[in-house]
C-alpha cells in the first residue's frame, strides 16, 4: 500500500502538472486498459503457476520495471518513457498483485473468520497509506525530486517478498490436495466466459457486477473532482501566495508538480488515518451486526450523502470531505466485498473474482472516464463540474438500490449450496455464511437440513454449532430433537449449542425454558458420556442455577441413582462450600469412582484437604488397575503438584492407558513435559486412545493446549508432507485410496473439516466409479 500510494500519487501529480488536469481521464483510461491486459495475461498464468509464485514474480518484475524507469530517466532524461514504464508497472503488475494477494488471503480464512479478519487486514492498507503519504511529504522535505520518490516505491514493493516468506514460515495451515477439475486449463477468454456464465446463473453476482461497475465509476468521478479541487486550490494559493503555500515552499517543494504531490500526499495521510480508525473500531462490528450485504450498502449511502453535498455546495472543502468519507467507508465495503466471495463455490471463486476485478473494475473506470470525456466535450466550467457531481449522486443512489435488492439473492447462494450432495466443502462454508447477520430465514434453512437423513453426522454437528451461534429461540426445539441422535458427537454438539442461548430465562420463552430443562434432565440421566453431562450442567447454570441444584440434590439423595458419581463431580463445579453438606457422606462410599469424585469436588475447600489427602493416599495404595486409573485422573483434577514425582514415574510405565492419564494429569498441572507424550497419544494407532487424548485437549490449561496444538500441527505437517512426497502427487484422483485414508486422518486430527469433506466426497466418488 505504501508503494501504491507513492506510485499513484506520483503518476497523478506528474501528469496533471506537466500536461494539465484535462488529461487526467487519459491516465484513467490507460490504467483501466492495462489492468484488463494484465488480467488476461495473469488469468492465463494462474492456471499454470501457484498464487504464491505469481505473487513473487509480479513483485520482482514490478520492482525491476520501476528501477529501469528511474535508470532511464537519469540516463536519457526521457520523462515520457519514465512515466510510461511506471504506468505499466502499476497497472499491470501491481494491480494484479493486489488481486493475487486478495485470493491468497481469502484461502487463509473461513467465512465467519473473514468478518473479523478482513477489517484487520484492511487496516494494514491504511497504515501503508499513511506511511506512503508520510514518505512523500518527508521525501519532499528532504528535497527529493519527484523522480527520486519512485525509489520509495521500489523499496516498499521489495519488502513484500520477505513479508510473505516470513508469513509462510509461521503459517499454521496444512498443505491441501487438489481436485483434477480445478486444474482444467482454460484460455483467458474461456475463463472470462466461464466467469460470465457463472455470474449469469447467480442473481447475486449479476447484481454485484453492476455494483462493482458503479463503485469504480464513482471512484473515477470522485477522484477527478477531488484532484481537480486540490489542483485548483494549489493554483489559487500559488497566485495569492498564502501561508500554506509558503509553508510548503519552505519545506522543499518548489514546482507545481511538487506542490501537488505534497498536497495529495498530505491529504492521503489524513484520509488513511480516518480510514484506519474506522477499520480498527467500526468495521468488524458493523459486519458482525449488519451482515455482508447491509454493510456493503453503507459505502454507497455515505457516498450518496457526500455527493449531494458536493452537488449543493461544490468546492475544495466538500470535495475533500467526499473523498475522505469515500476512503473511510470503502475499507468497510472492501472487507465485506471480499467476504461475500465465500458464498461462491471455491472452484468458481477465482474465475468470478478475476472477471470482476480484471474486467468489470477497469470497465467501471472506463465508464467513469467516458462520462468525464463526454462531459468535457459538451460542457465547460461550472456546468461540467455540476454534471459530474450529478453523475456521482446518481451512481451512488443506483449502487445503494442494487445492493438493497441483492440481500435475498445473497441468501439464495448458501441455500442452494446446502442442497449439494455428500460432504462437499461448499456445504460447510454455506453453513457459516448463513450464520452471518442479515439473512432473514437462516435458522429455518439450517433446521430443514439438520433432519435430512442423507446428511452426515459431521454436517449435522456443523449445523448445530451454527444454530448455537445464531441463538434463535425458534431453533431450540430442533436442537432438543438432536438429543435423541444416535451419534454421541451430534448429541454433544446439540447440548453445546444450547450453552450459547442466554435469553431463554426471559418471560417470553417460559415454556421453551421449561422444555429445555426437562430434556436436559432426561438426557443427563440417560447419557453415558461424561463430556455431555458436564456440558449439560453448563447449560443448566446458564439457564437457572436453582433448577440444576434441585436436580443434582435429588439425584444425590436417590440411593438407586446410577449417576451419583457424575452428580458429585458436577456439584464441585459450582464452587460453593454449601455442597460439602451433600457430598461429605460420599467420602466413605465403597465405590472408588464416587469417592474420587467427592475428593475432586471438595478439594477446593482448604478445611477438607488434610482429610482428603488421607483418602487419596488410600487410593494411591490400590493395586487394582481401574482404581489406579481413577486415582491418576483425580491427581490431575485436583492439580496435585505434590504428586509430581509419582506422575513422572507413571509417564514412563508400560501401560498405555495409565501413561496417557499421567500425561493428562501433568498437563493439568501445567507441566510442559506432558506435551510431547500427549501429541504421541493423539497420533497413536489405537484409535480409541487417540480419540480420548484428542477430546481431552480442550479441557487443558490454555498454555499447555496451545503448545500441544503447535507440536501436533508440526507433526501432522511432517506426516502429510512425507505422504505427499511418497505419492509424488497432489491430485486426489491420482492418489491411492489407502494413502487418501491416511491423509484424511491427518486432516481430521488437524480439525480441517473442509479438507476432510473434500476427501470424503472424492473417496465416495472413487468407490462409486470402482
Amino acid at each position: 500500500m505504501i508503494g501504491y500510494t507513492v506510485g499513484w500519487t506520483l503518476l497523478t501529480a506528474m501528469l496533471v502538472s506537466r500536461i494539465g488536469i484535462n488529461y487526467l481521464p487519459i491516465l484513467y483510461i490507460s490504467n483501466a486498459l492495462l489492468v484488463i491486459v494484465g488480467a488476461m495475461f495473469f488469468g492465463e498464468l494462474l492456471h499454470r503457476f501457484s498464487k504464491t509464485k505469481l505473487i513473487y514474480s509480479s513483485v520482482v518484475i514490478g520492482a525491476i520495471l520501476l528501477a529501469t524507469a528511474i535508470a532511464v530517466f537519469y540516463s536519457f532524461g526521457n520523462w515520457w518513457l519514465f512515466f510510461g514504464i511506471l504506468l505499466v508497472a502499476e497497472s499491470i503488475f501491481f494491480a494484479q498483485l493486489n488481486i493475487l494477494l486478495g485470493l491468497f488471503i481469502e484461502d487463509l480464512f473461513t467465512p465467519l473468520e473473514s468478518g473479523r479478519a478482513f477489517p484487520l487486514i484492511e487496516t494494514s492498507e491504511y497504515v501503508g497509506g499513511i506511511a506512503g503519504g508520510l514518505a512523500i511529504v518527508g521525501g519532499l522535505r528532504l528535497h527529493f525530486e519527484t523522480s527520486q520518490l519512485a525509489w520509495i516505491w521500489v523499496g516498499a514493493v521489495a519488502l513484500i517478498l520477505p513479508a510473505i516468506l516470513l508469513f509462510n514460515k509461521f503459517r499454521q495451515k496444512l498443505p491441501t490436495l487438489e481436485v483434477a477439475e480445478e486444474k482444467t486449463r482454460l484460455s483467458h477468454f474461456a475463463k472470462f466466459r466461464e466467469g460470465k456464465k457463472q455470474i449469469r446463473q447467480t442473481p447475486f453476482l449479476t447484481g454485484l457486477v453492476f455494483v462493482v461497475l458503479l463503485q469504480w465509476t464513482l471512484f473515477t468521478l470522485l477522484n477527478f473532482q477531488y484532484t481537480k479541487a486540490v489542483d485548483a486550490n494549489i493554483t489559487h494559493t500559488s497566485e495569492v501566495a498564502d501561508e500554506e503555500m509558503h509553508a510548503a515552499a519552505d519545506s522543499g517543494a518548489h514546482s507545481h508538480e511538487e506542490l501537488l504531490t505534497h498536497g495529495l500526499g498530505s491529504l492521503h495521510i489524513l484520509f488513511y488515518s480516518l480510514a484506519l480508525l474506522t477499520q480498527l473500531f467500526l468495521s468488524s462490528r458493523i459486519i458482525a451486526k449488519f451482515g455482508i450485504v447491509k454493510t456493503l450498502r453503507l459505502h454507497p449511502l455515505a457516498t450518496f450523502g457526500s455527493s449531494c453535498l458536493l452537488l449543493l455546495k461544490p468546492g475544495f472543502g466538500s470535495a475533500v470531505f467526499a473523498k475522505g468519507l469515500f476512503e473511510s467507508t470503502s475499507g468497510i465495503y472492501t472487507a465485506a466485498y471480499h467476504s461475500s466471495f465465500y458464498a461462491l463455490r471455491e472452484k468458481i471463486r477465482g474465475n468470478v473474482k478475476e472477471f470482476l476485478e480484471g474486467l468489470i473494475r477497469p470497465a467501471g473506470v472506463l465508464v467513469g472516464t467516458g462520462i468525464l470525456i463526454i462531459g468535457e466535450k459538451f460542457l465547460s466550467g461550472d456546468n461540467f463540474s455540476l454534471a459530474i457531481n450529478f453523475a456521482l449522486v446518481a451512481a451512488a443512489a443506483a449502487m445503494s438500490f442494487l445492493l438493497w435488492r441483492n440481500q435475498k439473492n445473497y441468501t439464495k447462494i448458501p441455500e442452494a449450496n446446502l442442497r449439494l450432495s455428500g460432504n462437499d466443502p461448499a456445504k460447510f462454508q454455506s453453513i457459516e455464511i448463513l450464520a452471518q447477520s442479515g439473512h432473514k430465514n437462516s435458522a429455518e434453512i439450517l433446521i430443514q437440513k439438520l433432519f435430512d437423513e442423507k446428511e452426515s453426522p459431521l454436517f449435522r454437528r456443523k449445523i448445530l454449532e451454527t444454530l448455537g451461534a445464531l441463538a434463535d429461540p425458534h431453533a431450540v426445539s430442533a436442537i432438543l430433537k438432536c438429543f435423541h441422535d444416535a451419534d454421541e458427537n451430534v448429541r454433544l454438539a446439540a447440548v453445546r449449542a444450547l450453552t450459547q442461548f442466554e435469553q431463554l430465562d426471559q418471560k417470553a420463552h417460559a415454556f421453551t425454558h421449561r422444555r429445555v430443562i426437562e430434556c436436559l434432565k432426561e438426557l443427563f440421566t440417560k447419557e453415558n458420556s461424561p463430556e455431555i453431562r458436564s456440558t449439560i450442567v453448563r447449560v443448566f447454570a446458564n439457564l437457572r442455577q436453582e433448577e440444576a441444584v434441585e436436580f443434582l440434590v435429588a439425584e444425590l439423595q436417590n440411593p438407586e441413582s446410577p449417576i451419583r458419581g457424575d452428580c458429585i463431580f458436577v456439584c464441585g463445579q459450582f464452587g460453593d462450600l454449601g455442597i460439602s453438606h451433600y457430598i461429605e457422606p460420599y467420602l466413605r462410599s465403597p465405590n472408588p469412582i464416587v469417592r474420587a469424585n467427592s475428593i475432586v469436588a471438595l478439594w477446593q475447600f482448604k478445611q477438607f484437604r488434610l482429610r482428603l489427602t488421607r483418602l487419596l493416599a488410600d487410593l494411591l495404595d490400590a493395586t487394582d488397575r481401574e482404581i489406579q486409573k481413577i486415582t491418576i485422573h483425580t491427581l490431575g483434577e485436583i492439580r496435585a503438584n505434590h504428586e509430581l514425582p509419582r506422575l513422572l514415574d507413571l509417564l514412563e510405565c508400560e501401560d498405555n492407558e495409565l501413561r496417557l492419564l499421567a500425561a493428562l494429569a501433568l498437563a493439568k498441572l501445567e507441566n510442559p513435559i506432558s506435551t510431547h507424550p500427549l501429541v504421541e497419544f493423539i497420533l497413536h494407532p489405537n484409535l480409541e486412545l487417540a480419540a480420548h487424548a484428542k477430546k481431552q485437549i480442550r479441557n487443558l490449561p490454555k498454555k499447555i493446549r496451545k503448545t500441544v496444538e503447535k507440536i501436533l500441527h508440526h507433526r501432522l505437517s511432517e506426516k502429510l508432507n512425507g505422504l505427499l512426497v511418497t505419492t509424488h502427487n497432489r491430485q486426489i484422483e491420482r492418489i491411492s485410496n489407502d494413502t487418501l485414508a491416511r491423509i484424511r486422518r491427518i486432516y481430521e486430527l488437524a480439525d480441517d473439516w473442509e479438507e476432510v469433506a473434500k476427501l470424503d466426497t472424492a473417496l465416495a466418488e472413487k468407490n462409486f466409479v470402482n
Binding site: K606, Q607, R609, L610, T613, R614, L616, A617, L620, D621, A640, N641, H642, E643, L644, P645, R646
Partner: protein, 110 residues
C-alpha cells in the same frame, strides 16, 4: 542418630528417604517417641516434596505425639515442602535454623 538437646529431640530422616521407607522408619520411631522429650523436631533436609502418603505418615506421627501430649516440628524444610504443608493444611511449626527452636519453645509457639 537423633541429636538430643535440652528440651527437644532432632530426628534426622534416613538417607534416600521416601514414602516406601517410611514403614521401617516408623518402627524405629516408636522407641524414640517413648523417650521423655516433649518436642520432636524432624529434620527434612533431603526431602524435596511431600507426597500425599508422606503427609499421611507425618500426620500419623503428629497424632501419636498429640495423643501423649507431645509436640512435633520440622527443621530445614524446603520452600516447596512448606508450601505443600500450608496447602494441605498440616499445621506443624517449621524452622530454618536449629537455634530458633529453643526460642520458640520458650515462647510456647510450637
Amino acid at each position: 542418630m537423633p541429636t538430643q538437646n535440652k528440651n527437644y529431640l532432632v530426628v534426622p530422616l534416613p538417607d534416600n528417604f521416601d514414602e516406601n521407607s517410611f514403614a521401617k522408619f516408623s518402627s524405629e520411631l516408636d522407641e524414640l517417641l517413648a523417650s521423655e522429650h516433649i518436642y520432636f523436631v524432624f529434620d527434612l533436609g533431603e526431602i524435596d516434596i511431600l507426597s500425599s502418603k508422606l503427609v499421611c505418615h507425618f500426620e500419623n506421627i503428629y497424632n501419636r505425639l498429640v495423643a501423649v501430649e507431645k509436640k512435633m516440628a520440622f527443621l530445614n524444610a524446603k520452600k516447596e515442602v512448606c508450601e505443600i504443608l500450608e496447602f494441605i493444611g498440616l499445621s506443624v511449626a517449621v524452622f530454618d535454623e536449629e537455634k530458633k527452636i529453643e526460642e520458640a519453645i520458650e515462647r510456647d509457639e510450637i
